[in-house]
Symmetry: C2
Subunit: 183 residues, 2 copies
DNA sequence: CTAGAAGGCTAATACCATTAGCCAACCGCG
DNA sequence: CGCGGTTGGCTAATGGTATTAGCCTTCTAG
């Protein structure tokens, strides 16, 4: 290889920083090149095009989220597991709101794989309820929808005051766990 | 006024058609101008810039959704109202997936107003539960988050097979209404 | 009938992604 | 040690986009 220089991963890393600092709209090839101290076309040696970079960023973010959610669920079961899953999910969003928003953009393929990893974690959290195969899928979809919806709305500032959001989320957790228990 | 010509509303209408046909990424000023049979800069006589057009489109869509949800809730109360609200919401999304996706983009101000209209409708659906002011807000946030999350995931094709999504959504409705009742 | 505004146009600018083609540096090999 | 190929940078050029400036026509109000 020639000059030590950039790598594919380094480009993705810079892109992530850009998303954190300026939001997903700030993710532009020339901005990445600027931060890397390189001319724009040089990036094409590491990344096929902007769409691929966006996809790589999304996948990276979804995997981060899955890592944290997976760790939270580990060693717990039942309501405890669901609670931990939901809390860790929201914690990630609160900590990295712009990343979470960026992950949503452009539902290209490739995200599907990372998505199914997340699904597996949600299913693991549900294991103790003894739902059938099909029931578990339905329940997982509901959990994911609820967590995702709350996250999107919070990350985009669609809720009014940020205070008391914790209470709202606790209520959502209670509604869902009680719904699961009495199913 | 000069030549009969375009109006602000007509421009928004064309933009909506574009969103329906090509998705939110197809909403470009030159595409709108093309459909209107006009040169691109002429649009600036009706709309301040692309950002404003996007905002107008989003508001229009959110109001459409609010109209349908409001009509669904009208004359019902309690679990029936919540069920009707949730069903009408998803019905809109299934009917206009691209519009719903487009509404999410760019959470500019101005959407807040249309959003509070929606909030009012959700609160109306919850009236019969006799929740306190604060409790109703929390419950409304949960409902909205759940509906929104499911809608986003469905509109983006994030769930696997489209079949049996009805069952999943019914489960979500049951979980939430039972959570509200036993609160 | 006339003045002015409304709404169209062309031309020009700036920014972006993307492609093509060139050049230098580094690597491994003999 | 040197040499060739690959790797990773560059500049130049293209095309699409939004946006601004300034002109010109046409309708309408008075």
């Amino acid at each position: 290889m020639a000059r030590a220089a950039l790598s594919r991963d380094a480009v993705v890393e810079i892109a992530l920083g850009l998303v954190d600092d300026e939001g997903e709209r700030g993710l532009t090839l020339s901005a990445v090149a600027g931060r890397a101290g390189v001319a724009t076309p040089s990036l094409y040696k590491h990344v096929r095009n902007l769409a691929e970079l966006r996809e790589l960023v999304s996948i990276r973010i979804m995997n981060e989220l899955a890592d944290e959610a997976g760790a939270a669920v580990l060693g717990r079961s039942g309501d405890e597991a669901v609670r931990a899953l939901m809390r860790s999910w929201r914690t990630y969003v609160v900590r990295h709101p712009r990343r979470y928003s960026a992950m949503l953009q452009v539902p290209h393929p490739g995200l599907a794989e990372a998505g199914s990893r997340l699904l597996g974690i949600v299913l693991a959290a549900l294991r103790a309820y003894g739902l059938g195969d099909s029931g578990a899928i339905h329940a997982a979809r509901c959990l994911r929808a609820a967590m995702h919806g709350f996250s999107v709305l919070e990350a985009e500032g669609a809720f009014g005051l940020p205070e008391k959001l914790d209470e709202s989320y606790d209520l959502l957790i209670d509604m869902l766990t009680s719904g699961l228990g009495t199913d």
